[in-house]
């Protein structure tokens, strides 16, 4: 058995918009004489769109209608019907995500791009996806080392760190090619708030409407590059003339870990501006080339090893197209009519609560459900459990019965029971839960997904002969 899912990645950035279509091959990797283990075994990019300027109504407002038209046009170019797309992600990156109408744009596209395309955003996630698209993550696994990916876009630089193939940290900085814009004569059109603060601190005479002195702009881009070197060398700005520069440029939070970095990757539009060029510095009406040159020179002086990225400007969108969707375990229990189902908030029992006696366990579930309803005023939620490898049949019946008792409020609201369990138990647990309810009661029980309190999950339409369902987990862990 071998089949594929089509996934779309849509990246609407501060300055550019692009799409990719990817094919994910899923296959039962277990032998014929064991229970199936369906996995994503390969990913392949089918189509990369051109890179378009993001249509804006004004510098603060995305032109949602124009974005929609653009996306439609790209689908047509790719000869892709929205119905053929199984999954994917729309990401509104960089400064744009903070703009007022981002939500409206996402909603418009979610409806348009296939049945199960998820809108998501946030600088940390973006950075993580970029490092997967650029090859940084894979490199860290192949070479058993710690790798930092800088995805340097128009408005922000997203940093993600991978160790042995796992992401261990992410952060975002206001370093980008379009934080200062100039017109054809070299007159300053735009200065971001952070650049204004930085230039004030450095006492530079940068004023909108006035001619920019390249030397002043270079001082800004050099400082940004120095901040990046300091991040890569894990020195927290200690050697920069202006120690507060790093603080000024933090978008949301700084990095939290301190493992030494063994290699760096550069992706994003500015990564393409790091090559030496004879083009005038303001070719693109911004500081992209200046920043690229500053970064190149700054890193050449260090011992940090820079590795050539597989993808630069398309890293994020490829990451979005290939790395947001996962699949569930292969023995699960669900009512087909419930799927797809999106944005389900998750409540998770503690290990102690899960292991306690029946009475305490029912109480724990009941109180969590009540608390959640009181907080959110909605009763649809998924209960997440750990489970363990050696659940006996009788113990599983007890657990199923406790779950049904504890989730009474959900059942009274006639909402589906959605259970997520870490260990491979979903099919038997689902059957056992159903035994406690009327046979038609809607139940979804899936396993091998790891989630936490505060996460949201989307569950897609079953694939691989109904053995597995695609899932997208939107975690809040990184603070978006």
């Amino acid at each position: 058995m071998k089949e594929s899912m089509i996934s779309v990645g849509i990246d609407i950035g501060t300055s550019t918009t692009q799409l990719v279509f990817c094919k994910m091959i899923i296959e039962n990797t277990a032998s014929a004489w064991t229970v199936p283990t369906v996995k994503i075994v390969d990913k392949e990019v089918l189509f990369r769109s051109d890179i378009y300027f993001t249509p804006l109504k004004s510098s603060d407002v995305i032109d949602a209608e124009a974005v929609k038209q653009l996306v439609l046009k790209i689908y047509e170019q790719a000869q892709m019907q929205p119905e053929a797309v199984d999954t994917g992600a729309v990401i509104i990156t960089g400064e744009t995500a903070r703009k007022e109408n981002a939500k409206e744009v996402l909603e418009m596209l979610s409806g348009l791009a296939g049945d199960f395309v998820v809108a998501t955003a946030g600088p940390d996630l973006e950075g993580i996806l970029a490092g997967k698209g650029s090859g940084a993550c894979a490199y860290s696994k192949a070479h058993s080392c710690t790798v930092m990916n800088f995805d340097i876009g128009g408005g922000t630089t997203n940093v993600a760190i991978y160790k042995n193939g796992d992401v261990i940290d992410a952060a975002c900085y206001d370093i980008g090619g379009r934080l200062i814009k100039v017109d054809k004569q070299g007159k300053i059109d735009y200065l971001s708030e952070k650049v204004k603060a930085l230039s004030a601190k450095m006492a530079l005479p940068l004023v909108i409407g006035q001619m920019a002195d390249v030397k002043d702009l270079k001082r800004i881009t050099d400082t940004m590059a120095e901040v990046m070197v300091s991040i890569a060398e894990r020195r927290n700005g200690a050697h920069i003339d202006l120690p507060s520069a790093q603080e000024i440029l933090i978008t949301n939070h700084d990095l939290k870990t301190f493992d030494p970095i063994e290699a760096v990757f550069f992706s994003g539009g500015v990564a393409d501006c790091m090559i030496e060029t004879t083009k005038p510095w303001h070719t693109y009406g911004d500081i992209g080339f200046l920043l690229g040159e500053s970064i190149r020179i700054a890193f050449e002086k260090t011992k940090v090893k820079a590795v050539h990225a597989d993808e630069t400007i398309r890293a994020t969108v490829i990451g979005a197209g290939t790395h947001t969707t996962d699949i569930s375990g292969s023995t699960i229990h669900y009512d087909r009519a419930l799927l797809p189902i999106q944005n389900i908030p998750i409540i998770r029992l503690t290990e102690l609560e899960e292991k306690s006696d029946s009475k305490a366990r029912v109480e724990a579930i009941t109180s969590r459900v009540k608390w959640f309803i009181s907080q959110s005023d909605q009763s649809l939620m998924a209960l997440s459990l750990r489970g363990h490898k050696s659940y006996g049949f009788d113990a599983l019946q007890a657990l199923a019965s406790d779950i049904v008792k504890g989730m009474r409020a959900v059942i009274e609201a006639k909402l589906p029971l959605i259970i997520l369990v870490d260990q491979d138990l979903a099919k038997s647990l689902g059957l056992s839960i159903r035994g406690n309810l009327s046979p038609e009661y809607p139940v979804i029980c899936i396993d091998s997904v790891s989630v936490d309190n505060g996460d949201y999950i989307d569950i897609g339409v079953p694939v691989a002969d109904g053995q597995v369902v695609p899932v997208i987990i939107k975690t809040l862990l990184f603070g978006y």
């Binding site: 070479h143 058993s144 080392c145």
Partner: protein, 454 residues
């Protein structure tokens, strides 16, 4: 031809050469299961006595499976050197035994005579050998072969690196591979028994082995032990394989149970010579084991030692680089306990060498057999002394996929330093370059797989 003898006044009569061969066998539970073993210990000795007086020509005239019925018999007989056979056909089996043990008879002389032997002759003389006879006679015979490096030379003990994994997980395979190399395992071959006999799985593993081998410039050969047809498909799709593996049996019917024919192996050999990645000319790898014919009801009423010898006669046609018996894998219904396993290991190794093939042994046991790691260590020492080409190497002797135990990574250096043996030369030089060994001893890097994790 005399098929009768008397011992202590009792007369023993046998109906056929095949019966004499079966009853002359050392005790094996498989022969009992087949209902062909000697009834008493004395009858066994009587059969040996009768056998010792049969001539090689008697054996030639009585193959255990007729030429007309069986392509294994045909291959063995068609490949025989008639001139040499005519020189030795009047030897009795007893005389042949003494000739092999004679101080003036060298390995080269034995190798020449090999060309005139059928597998029944090889099996027959084995039945007259004690365990130490088998060790001593085998130690005279060196059979070398070349794939990317040369195996089987005097003073060399190789190991196959067997990094098996329960689900063919590539990382799981890789860590076993890396660690094995630091212990000096893998000079004979890096060879995985896959769980999934699929072209894709074979392709992926070979690709990974090849890249790793190139990155670290390891002088060895690689193979994935799927079915021959799966490997051929993978090679046609560009999988980098140095050789082709297949399990074989001592009769056509036994081979049919494995899903193979002689033509198929010929085709496989030609394919890997044309599209494989090795220097050659020896590009085949076979595994065998006493009892496999009986388990597929393809033994034709013959005993398991004779059927095993016929595997080697069949294998010889394809000029293999590696042949090994998986001696204790099949279970107690064929080899009951450690005593029978040790005996079978020594028999198989000797028979392989006498047939003229580069013989290794998977010295192993399963958990439903009355044997333990001590027995396998004993067998490994005996076989090392006998000049065995190679053993298996798995982490701590525990194969998590095949669920049996065999020789572990730690046995390599122990046996080599104990018996003054070395890895294959090119591999030894590589180990020194990698600083896993220095002046014949393991360094602090030996046992640390993470030296490769970069």
């Amino acid at each position: 031809m005399r098929l009768k003898t008397s011992l202590f006044g009792q007369v023993y009569t046998f109906g056929s050469v095949k019966e004499v061969l079966a009853k002359a066998n050392e005790e094996k539970s498989g022969d009992k299961l087949a209902g062909i073993a000697a009834e008493t210990v004395t009858e066994r000795v009587a059969a040996k006595e009768v056998l010792s007086h049969l001539t090689l020509e008697d054996l030639y005239n009585n193959p255990v499976v007729p030429y007309e019925e069986d392509e294994v018999t045909r291959i063995i007989y068609d490949d025989l050197n008639r001139v040499i056979y005519n020189e030795i056909k009047d030897f009795t089996v007893g005389e042949f035994r003494e000739w092999l043990l004679d101080d003036h008879v060298t390995g080269d002389m034995i190798k020449r005579i090999s060309r005139g032997l059928t597998s029944e002759m090889v099996a027959a003389v084995t039945k007259l050998m004690s365990n130490l006879d088998l060790v001593y006679a085998a130690s005279k015979i060196r059979i070398t072969a070349h794939c990317n490096t040369t195996i089987g030379e005097e003073g060399i003990l190789g190991f196959r690196l067997q990094p098996n994994h329960t689900t063919d997980n590539l990382d799981g395979i890789m860590v076993s591979l890396m660690e094995g190399l630091t212990y000096g395992i893998g000079d004979a071959v890096i060879g995985l028994n896959p769980v999934n006999d699929t072209v894709e799985s074979v392709y992926n593993v070979l690709k990974m082995f090849d890249e790793f081998k190139r990155k670290w410039e390891i002088p060895t050969q690689q193979c994935v032990l799927a079915h021959v047809t799966t490997q051929m498909e993978a090679i046609k799709k560009g999988a980098p394989s140095d050789m082709i593996f297949q399990s074989i049996a001592g009769s056509q019917k036994g081979n049919e149970a494995f899903g193979i024919t002689a033509d198929m192996l010929q085709e496989a050999r030609e394919l890997v010579l044309k599209q494989g990645t090795s220097a050659g000319p020896n590009v085949m790898y076979f595994e065998t084991g006493q009892g496999s014919e009986l388990s597929s009801d393809a033994h034709h009423g013959a005993d398991q030692v004779t059927m095993e010898a016929r595997c080697y006669g069949f294998a010889k046609r394809y000029q293999p680089f590696l042949v090994n018996t998986v001696v204790g894998f099949i279970g107690p219904e064929y080899l009951y306990d450690s005593k029978q396993v040790i005996r079978a290991g020594l028999e198989d190794h000797f028979m392989g060498k006498l047939t003229g093939i580069p013989m290794g042994v998977d010295a192993c046991y399963t958990n439903h057999m009355k044997a333990d790691q001590n027995d396998i260590e004993n067998l490994a020492v005996l076989l090392s002394a006998a000049g065995c080409n190679y053993f298996m190497g798995v982490p701590a002797g525990d194969d998590i996929m095949l669920n049996y135990q065999c020789t572990g990574y730690h046995e390599a250096q122990t046996l080599r330093s104990l018996l003054k043996l070395k890895p294959i030369k090119a591999f030894e030089v590589w180990m020194e370059k990698m600083e896993f060994v220095k002046e014949g001893k393991l360094t602090n890097r030996a046992g640390d797989a993470s030296v490769f994790m970069k």
